[in-house]
Amino acid sequence: MEPGECLAGGVEGALERGDADGVLGRGGTDGGLVRGICNGTPPGGVAAWLIIVRSSAGAVGVPGSAALAAYIVGAVPLTALGDAGPVGPSAMMVGELGCAMGCRALARWVREPNGCDATGGVLAEATGRTEGAGKPNMVREPCLGTPPGASGTARPHAPHSVAVAATAIPQNGHGRFGTLIFLHNHGTASVRVGQTNIVCNGVRRRSGPIPQQLLSFDEAVLRATDADTGASALLAAGHLVMSRSLKYHRPRSAFCLEGHCAGCCARIDGQPNMRLCQVPAREMHAASTQNALRVGSTDVLEIADWFFADGLDHHTLMTSTRLGNFVAERVVRQLSGVGKLPTESAAYLPPEQRTCDVCVVGGGAAGLAVAEALGDVTVLVIDDQLTPGGSWHGEKSVAPHASANVLSRTTLLGAMVDERRTLIASSPTRLVRIQAEHVVWATGGTPQLVPFGNNDRPGVMATRAVGRLFFQHHIVPGDAICFVETMPTPPTLLRALASEGVHIECVAAADVAHVTGTEWVQAVVLTDGRVIDCDLVGISTPAAPASEGPRQFGAQVRFDAASGGFVVITDAEGRTNAANHWAVGDVCGYVGPVRAAAAGTALGRRLRAIVRGAA
């Protein structure tokens, strides 16, 4: 069966004769050929849907995947999948790929050979796009199988539909380039075979929780697990570009996954500038790109990136006339900037007051060790992440930390200018005022970039974020990962990735010239001309000490490039030069979680003696 060929008898006929399997080679040598059949009744009189997913080198193929792809594209409900193959976590991961291909790659790459836009129409439905049901931004189940009228809205549909056979045939050894074979179902009469080349990255789910939560990003609907944040769910489903940069509208994606960078800023349920990596998938319904003039998946304002090839000095960006300046200023302000104001203001609770002997800022390795060593001293740990553990999450699976004295998702904002120097923190619902005798800064560090060309491309990610994806969100973020190092990548992470079959290369940061790829990295080019094919770049560099908090309270810092940045100066016991302010862990210079925890325990014991001695 070749592209362009028509099969008599439609999909069912082809299946009965085994022709559809013939398309892809029954029981291919990779052992991953699977097929799933579903007999939904999509609108438009199309009798049958056939979805076949073929694997490549273990990257995408496990039994049941086709059924899952069918489920995700929306043809059958999950409960109907019993006979179509085992539905397990591994199947889910391929289902996600089916989703990535079905909803994203297909919409972009599949074009019907004879020019009819049947694919576009059907795929728009397949993505479960929200329609005018009175509530914009409400996610609805993909409902291809629903007869017209059942959902209350009549949808436009294609005269004939497409069945999908997605296959990623590795052409460069990593499975990033492949061929997508699809079948056009011309009613029940015949099937036309089409073929197109695609690029896909190797992100996939490893065994773990099954994606159930439904959320939408722009037009696409995707599924997420309980362990997912909005950002990890998007990455797992192949939605790689999450935002556009401020001035040049360069494509951006998550870099740190720790709520520091702006790579995953989006409008979530009507609220602008929310970080997708800091919102659990179960708490969100609909997200959308902001700061973009989108045509399909392209932001036409990206032309600014070409226009100002090196950068721009806005001080000299003037036209010769006053009127010209006036107009230019108005236009430029429309083109740049961040999200639009919320549709309705969120309701916040009045501030909450907390009093404690010791307030620990940061719930990472050092902070949790301090809190534990403090014993019966009243202590409050505030941590800005969804779950405590800090940089441990980048190196291993962290058991849930259940402790009443840890306030997660609470970020320190600064101090009140009052006699007590009350700390002010912000949680998702309210401000928290904290009065503490002692403040321990265990804020750790923030991942940094390293200088090479296009170092901001989606797919260039902090190594800690790679670890978070793997350990915290159960996602294998690529098939071939290149680590750009100024310090060694954690061996635990390398081992874990290798155990999933990920191809790993480590290069020194000084040797990297630039990366290629626009919407996702494709290769790292070294200064000696060598090209390393990869679908993810990890930046292994010492985290820069998060000393902005201590600095605000008067703690002195010094610049230490080897330790990551501006380190807080302490004495041998951990005192900063601000009274009753202490610092421990990576904020005093990068040491890594093991040594940070040891230092935290020592400081906790000292502080306990001090607090007990004073009482």
Binding site: G311, D313, T446, L449
Partner: protein, 118 residues
């Protein structure tokens, strides 16, 4: 091809070198000239990186720019829930355009920059 030093505000290495060539070598000055460190991350992601670049360009490590509250972007609605936020009487006339004395420029404008823009 751009090498980005500040992702939030799209400041490139070229912009940074341009600012240093114009005579701005202090991080506070470079921040005000290029806008680096003024975006969503407020310098968490770029301050140390820019500092190491400036060290390479100028030979000596700079001091960080001032850390101001709020340290992370905060919804105004949340701050407004603090009763102290409403302490200002209605009849007090606040000149929002006045520059606080603490922010006044202490050092003279670098000669290179003066020649370029004045």
């Amino acid at each position: 091809m751009k090498t980005i030093v500040c992702r939030c505000e799209d400041v490139s290495m070229h912009d940074l070198e341009h600012a240093v060539a114009a005579g701005y070598t202090d991080l506070e000055e470079i921040k005000r000239y290029t806008g680096f460190g003024t975006g969503m991350c407020q310098g968490k992601e770029c301050l140390a990186f820019v500092a190491s670049c400036v060290t390479r360009l100028c030979g000596q490590p700079p001091m960080p720019f001032t850390a101001r509250a709020p340290l992370v972007p905060t919804p105004v609605g949340q701050l407004a829930q603090d009763p102290r936020a409403r302490r200002l009487p209605d009849d007090v006339d606040v000149d929002v355009h006045a520059t606080p004395t603490s922010n006044a420029v202490q050092a003279p404008t670098p000669a290179a920059a003066r020649g370029k823009h004045e």
